[in-house]
């Protein structure tokens, strides 16, 4: 089971994400993004979409994955709250995501994430699982 925490950073937001394996890592990073954006209590999913990401290597793939999820929110007002990863290798990922609509009446944005960056990004695979620091522009 993955975990994430918020670290200190002067101008932006820095997360540390760890998963038991690669799939768990990508799933946990997605959960981290959602919880960061709207708080620890995520609403229930009302629809499902397939999200695809691509990249050369896990770092690029991670950034593309989180960017897709961020776009769902900023561009379409949907928060991906469940992430079922169905395909994953170093070049691509596909996930079936349960999404809730962002309702400004009932929900508020805790952190205004504007972009996912490559800063200090290295996906590390070791005996504790898979982890990375991720810096987001706010």
């Amino acid at each position: 089971m993955g975990s994430w925490e918020l670290l200190d950073h002067t101008a932006d937001v820095r997360l540390f994400v760890r998963g038991d394996d690669v799939s768990d890592f990508f799933r946990t990073a997605a959960v981290a993004l959602a919880e960061l954006m709207i708080g620890p209590t995520l609403p229930a999913a009302v629809e499902h979409v397939t999200v695809r990401a691509e990249g050369e290597g896990y770092e690029e793939l991670l950034v593309d994955w989180l960017r897709e999820l961020l776009y769902l929110f900023s561009g379409e007002g949907k928060i991906a709250v469940e992430h079922d990863i169905i395909e994953l290798d170093r070049a691509g990922l596909a996930a079936r995501c349960g999404c809730a609509a962002f309702d400004p009446e009932r929900m508020s944005v805790s952190t205004d994430i504007k972009a996912i960056t490559y800063h200090d990004l290295r996906v590390i695979e070791d005996d504790r699982g898979v982890s990375a620091h991720i810096v987001c522009d706010v």
């Binding site: 561009g75 400004p104 504007k114 972009a115 490559y118």
Partner: protein
């Protein structure tokens, strides 16, 4: 990388040319701020930028510099048009984040009793905050015109006059914009956000002229002591961010393809002459135009609010533009390099253009005194109006600082703000604040930022700009 800075004078530090740097770095600062800069690893970023193909003269950084994505914020770098590169990281995510200042005939005393009403009405008239939707919902055709024409589009819709455009950098329209290069996502994000302020450190501020340093220039700019002014700090919203995101993805591949060896992947770039380089510039110009249209619309609505609340006519109010500058941009400009004039691509990321008197790009009304430079303090602190100089033109590709950078993280700021009512503290200082977001006030509190007075003193000390006036906020709206 271990950087040993060499101090050249009271305000200049050189990053010596070593390793793969093609030019040295030059950091403008003072004795106190340079310590922060060293701690923040800024010089490493200045050195990294100096390794990019086609960079000319120096990799530069202003006194308000701090760490950024690839390029430092407060960084300036110019590249040869023929063999240099263009890089989205050298512009920033918020393309044409900039500042617009406009003045009135009003004296502070005249609006004291109406201040609360003005702030409330402005808060109502100009949507702010995360995900806010604007009053202007654009059709595809409208959006295309906004992206092509910038502030001129807004004026054509009746939101301002030609006079406003004269007093805007680039006339509020960047040439070379092509909406065809924007992704569907960027276009879709742009459709509903025109006319919104944004969030974070963006604001609209009513202020008063606190001190005049140069009577002659202040008069030409339309500023007088105790005069009421309005300042807007805002950018290209979600559209600009999407353009940057889309471009970084493409540039990553181009950098590999062209065999450009970069020390940091966020320096991803493309040759200026490549199709990707030209497409990025066009897309960036669209986002720049979007930001200018946005600030022009907000100026118009501010005029409407003031006229309504104060029951004044435009002729009496004279809410006229002082100037509008961008501080995240890449521009093609002509500069002297090694004694010869050439066309270069200047990247300013958290830096403002600073042109001297006599320069043809300075608007005609200001040509005798130099280009106005607008340096916003952050919420609750002073802002400055400066004028451009010959020294900046000669040394920094006509560039100067843009404002104060952060010193406290948002987490630390929130921690420091615990138990304190920031809005109340500001009110006690005579500043009325209305914020759309709950935590933003704590995150944006004055102690979270560097000292803008020091930053401005340093650029003046270095000769890059001269002080004209200092402004003090009295009412702020933010997201």
């Amino acid at each position: 990388m271990d950087i040993e800075l060499v101090q050249k004078d009271a305000y200049r530090w050189e990053v010596p040319r070593t390793g793969r740097m093609s030019v040295p770095g030059l950091i403008f600062s003072d004795d106190v701020m340079i310590e922060d800069i060293l701690r923040d690893r800024g010089p490493v970023q200045v050195a990294n930028v100096a390794t990019l193909p086609g960079i000319l003269t120096h990799s530069l950084a202003m006194p308000d510099m701090h760490w950024g994505y690839g390029f430092p914020i407060g960084g300036v770098a110019a590249f040869d048009k023929k063999n240099g590169v263009i890089s989205p990281g050298g512009v920033g995510y918020d393309i044409n984040c900039g500042v617009r200042l406009f003045r009135t005939e009003l004296e502070h005393g005249r609006i004291k009793k109406k201040l609360e009403e003005l702030v409330m009405e402005l808060f109502r008239a100009i949507p702010s905050g995360v995900g806010s939707k604007g009053r202007l919902r654009l059709s595809e055709k409208d959006e295309r015109n906004v992206l092509l024409k910038g502030a001129r589009w807004a004026v054509e819709q009746g939101m301002g006059s030609e006079e406003d455009l004269v007093r805007t950098e680039d006339g509020g329209t960047m040439e070379g914009a092509d909406p065809g290069f924007l992704s569907e996502r960027a276009l879709s994000r742009g459709r509903d956000q025109l006319g919104t302020l944004g969030s974070g450190n963006h604001f609209l501020e009513i202020g008063v002229v606190d001190e005049i340093y140069d009577d002659r220039i202040a008069r030409v700019f339309g500023l007088f002591e105790s005069g009421v002014v309005v300042q807007i700090h805002s950018g290209s919203r979600g559209l600009g961010y999407q353009v940057c995101d889309d471009s970084l993805k493409i540039m990553g591949r181009v950098t590999l393809r062209e065999g450009i060896d970069i020390p940091d992947r966020q320096l991803a770039c493309a040759p200026i002459t490549s199709s990707e380089g030209r497409e990025y510039f066009s897309a960036m110009a669209c986002a720049a135009n979007y930001a200018w249209a946005n600030r022009q619309a907000m100026l118009h609505w501010t005029r409407e609010v003031f006229m309504r609340v104060l029951s004044m006519s435009p002729v009496d109010l004279k809410m006229n533009m002082v100037y509008d500058v961008c501080h995240n941009i890449a521009k093609f400009e002509r500069h002297m390099v090694d004694g010869k004039e050439r066309e270069v691509c200047v990247h300013r990321k958290g830096a403002t253009r600073s042109l001297p008197s006599g320069h043809p790009l300075v608007p005609e009304p200001y040509r005798d005194v130099g280009q106005p430079i607008l340096i916003p303090g952050d919420m609750g602190t002073a802002s400055y109006v400066l004028a451009g100089t010959d020294v900046a033109l000669a040394e920094t590709f006509a560039s100067t600082c843009h404002g104060a950078g952060r010193v406290l993280s948002r987490k630390a700021a929130k921690q420091a703000a615990k138990g304190r009512a920031i809005a109340r503290e500001l009110e006690d200082q005579g500043i009325l604040v209305m914020a759309a977001g709950k935590s933003s006030l704590a995150e944006e509190m004055p102690e979270a930022y560097k000292d803008v007075d020091r930053v401005v003193a340093a650029v003046e000390g270095a000769g890059l700009s001269r002080k004209v006036a200092r402004l003090r906020p009295i009412g702020v709206i933010k997201g």
